[in-house]
């Protein structure tokens, strides 16, 4: 299994990861449909990056058992089971489950990796599980 590792100290806040994610997963040109979040902090000068780290809390709190793990190790919300109650969104320790007009249900990183390829600052990289 592979994870995407975040190094927020390398993030420049350019949002190419979000633009790429939205294009890859929803075929939309926006950063606002992304499965990754960026929160700028100024004047202190840093960017918080919110990305699923496959901790599994969402699965344990889901009240309708809509969340499973796919073959790549990514957590996936089954849209036919999800009732959009928001329990997973609220409980995610990474604040990495998102809602947007692009989908009627919440979603998180599906480990497609499109963002990693486009993060020139290398704030996002692949890491193999030991």
């Amino acid at each position: 299994m592979r994870h995407i590792v975040v190094r927020p100290e390398s993030c420049t806040g350019c949002r190419l990861c979000q633009l790429t994610c939205s294009a890859q997963n929803f075929r939309l040109n926006t950063h606002k449909a992304a499965r990754i979040g960026i929160v700028p902090h100024f004047p202190e000068g840093y960017f918080e990056v919110h990305l699923c780290n496959q901790c599994g809390v969402c699965q344990s709190v889901c009240l309708v058992e809509a969340i499973s793990v796919d073959a790549n190790g990514a957590y996936v919300i089954d849209e036919s089971t999800c009732i959009d109650c928001g329990a997973c969104v609220d409980s995610c320790p990474q604040q990495a489950i998102f809602r947007s007009p692009a989908s009627p249900h919440p979603y998180m990183c599906n480990l497609c990796g499109a963002c990693v390829a486009n993060c020139a600052a290398q704030a996002l990289t692949w890491e193999e599980d030991q």
Binding site: L16, R27, N29, T30, F42, N118
Partner: protein
């Protein structure tokens, strides 16, 4: 829906507070693309001839391009334009950051700001909801402080552009600030917003930008980023950004020192990018969709101040050109002018001019209200900048811009101001750089480096020679301004050598059209003729006399790598003759009616003939 566009133009009448949306037509999109081309077109067509730049009849145009806010790398440009209160002619100036995308997500490609409010207001845009709101609570606040305050009050995900006290007080080189440290700096557009009492624009939108072939665009983008990451230039430029050029400018003798009296700086190791990173680095910062992240966000312990930058132009104009001791002095001056809301290039020029007048005994300590305007005196410079922003004491004179200040002061001081058309030189001396000098002389906003940064060609082709330099400038003036039509940054092309054709490919993937380089260059020539026509219409006696280099360039450089170099009138005439010929303009540098018709500006030709500005 038009691919690549938000779809609407927002027209705001600040006199009445009314707003209306006008559709972007397929013809406007296809024939005029966007960005600075739209600005040039609307400015020529909508501004009454001879309009006072600070009157309610002037307008400010804020335009994105078809690539602004898209996935294409560094698609982060938005262009501001108006009739300049500093030069009396055409000005456009662009900024990076994130607001260009937000505007398009709100369905807007351009904002036209008309009229003037009686009381301070700001424009708040949330998709279809647009309001002109009271800004009395923000009036008087610094540019960056206002951005933080509005984000706190409206929400962190609003993107905000502001003016500072300098804009409110109509300082003629007041700028517009966004995303902490991105500015549309040049030509006093901030003062025009100040005259309209518009403190800020805040925008948030939710609609994705329609793209003809998003899969193709993503593939193209990923391949270009892969290329960029593997170039030899990328590690250096992403780390040092524009500051990387400091050492080079010093070594070849083009860095401005003490108001362009010298061109090599003994303290350059204390003001360069390496020293800056070592002393003050906080974070690399990137504009929207930019893999380069060339901006460096810094903190000066010595002055307890955060600033985005300094960039090279500020290092030159507010550092070596003022004789400052180190990057920390430059940082605090940069932070000051950012929050006051003044262009760091023209601010540097104004302070340098004042310091030279002090050096020569033309103005004294008493004239400066007790300030000792010696080279390197950071405290005096900081105080003087505050006087300018508040138009207090002698600051009121310099708030008019260095050239206008010289005309007020008299005593033959105009020769000490380094400018063209009233716009102060960027940070490249041209005692021995004819192409760069021609670029300044003929840039369509005054002496600005970005239209044609030809200094490298001067070094490569021979510094004393004018041979072939006209062509260099002509070519650059066709390609570079197109970046500000499309809404993208030039740095991927300039700094990591992304091929221009890849931009054209991206444009076609986004718009679904079939643009070609040949067609785009012809269009670029049309826009260049249009801005030249605007100057011809607005400025009495416009022509060759307005394309002259600063008097200082005729004086011998006393020392450094370019020791003994100076410009002659013969060189200047040669450069201009060749340049005007290349554009098919007349000997006085005016566009001919025939040429205007050939490039598709028949209605402009008719207008200028009718006004007696050119012959029929």
């Amino acid at each position: 829906m038009i691919n690549g566009y938000g779809g609407s133009i927002l027209r705001v009448d600040l006199t009445t507070g009314s707003v209306k949306r006008e559709p972007v037509t397929p013809e406007l999109a296809h024939d005029w693309l966007g960005g600075r081309a739209w600005i040039a077109k609307y400015m020529y067509e909508e501004l009454p001839a001879g309009v006072d730049p600070l009157s309610a009849a002037n307008k400010v145009f804020v335009a994105t391009g078809p690539l602004s806010g898209t996935l294409w790398p560094s698609s982060a440009k938005i262009v501001w334009g108006t009739k300049s209160p500093l030069t009396g002619g055409y000005i456009d100036s662009n900024m990076g950051g994130l607001i260009m995308a937000e505007l398009k997500y709100a369905g807007l490609d351009m904002i036209i700001l008309e009229g003037a409010s009686e009381t301070p207001v700001y424009l708040c845009i949330e998709d279809d909801k647009v309001e002109v709101r009271d800004a009395s609570g923000y009036w008087g606040k610094g540019s960056v402080d206002t951005e933080y305050a509005l984000k706190r009050d409206l929400g962190e995900d609003f993107q905000i552009a502001t003016i500072g006290p300098a804009g409110e007080n109509l300082v003629k080189f007041a700028c517009i600030t966004h995303d902490v440290g991105r500015q549309a700096g040049r030509g006093g557009i901030g003062a025009v917003l100040g005259s309209k009492k518009l403190k800020a624009i805040a925008v948030r939108g939710t609609n994705p930008i329609p793209v003809a072939n998003i899969e193709g665009l993503q593939k193209h983008t990923t391949s270009i980023i892969d290329y960029i990451k593997n170039t030899a230039f990328f590690p250096t430029f992403s780390k040092y950004g524009t500051t990387d050029v400091t050492d080079w400018c010093d070594s070849v003798g083009v860095i401005p020192v003490n108001n362009f009296q010298h061109a090599q700086y003994p303290k350059k190791d204390r003001i360069n990018g390496k020293y800056m990173r070592q002393q003050m680095y906080v974070r690399d910062k990137g504009c929207y969709a930019c893999p380069l992240g060339c901006s460096t966000y810094t903190y000066s312990k010595k002055y307890d101040v955060y600033v985005e930058g300094p960039e090279y132009e500020t290092i030159g104009l507010m550092g070596s050109n003022l004789g400052m001791d180190s990057i920390e002095e430059i940082a605090v001056l940069n932070a000051d002018v950012d929050n006051l809301g003044m262009d760091s290039i023209s601010s540097g020029s104004a302070v340098a001019f004042a310091m030279e007048l002090y050096q020569r005994g033309i103005l004294t300590k008493e004239d400066f209200g007790g300030l000792e305007m010696t080279w390197g005196n950071v405290h005096a410079a900081r105080a003087f900048l505050r006087l300018i922003a508040a138009r207090q004491g002698i600051g009121a004179t310099f708030a008019e811009g260095a050239l206008a200040a010289a005309r007020i002061i008299g005593k033959d001081t105009e020769k000490y101001v380094v400018q063209v058309k009233g716009l102060d030189y960027s940070a490249y001396d041209t005692h021995a750089a004819p192409a760069m000098m021609l670029a300044y002389m003929t840039s369509d906003i005054g002496a600005q480096h970005t239209r044609a940064w030809a200094i490298v060609q001067d070094i490569n082709m021979g510094r004393g020679s004018t041979e072939g330099k006209g062509q260099v400038v002509y070519d650059l003036q066709h390609l570079r301004p197109l970046m500000e039509v499309l809404g993208v940054c030039r740095f991927p092309w300039l700094e990591v050598k992304v091929d221009w054709e890849d931009y054209v490919t991206a444009l076609n993937l986004v718009t679904g059209q079939h643009y070609t380089t040949e067609g785009l260059f012809a269009f670029s020539e049309k826009v260049w003729n249009l801005t030249r026509a605007f100057w011809t219409r607005e400025v009495d006696g416009f022509g060759r006399a307005y394309d002259q280099p600063p008097a200082k360039m005729y004086e011998e450089m006393p020392d450094g790598p370019t020791k003994g170099a100076r410009v002659t009138q013969e060189m200047v005439d040669q450069l201009l003759d060749g340049y005007y010929q290349a554009y098919h303009w007349d000997q006085n540098g005016l566009p001919t009616a025939q040429r205007l018709r050939e490039v598709g500006l028949g209605y402009v030709a008719d207008d200028l003939v009718k006004r007696g500005r050119i012959r029929g």
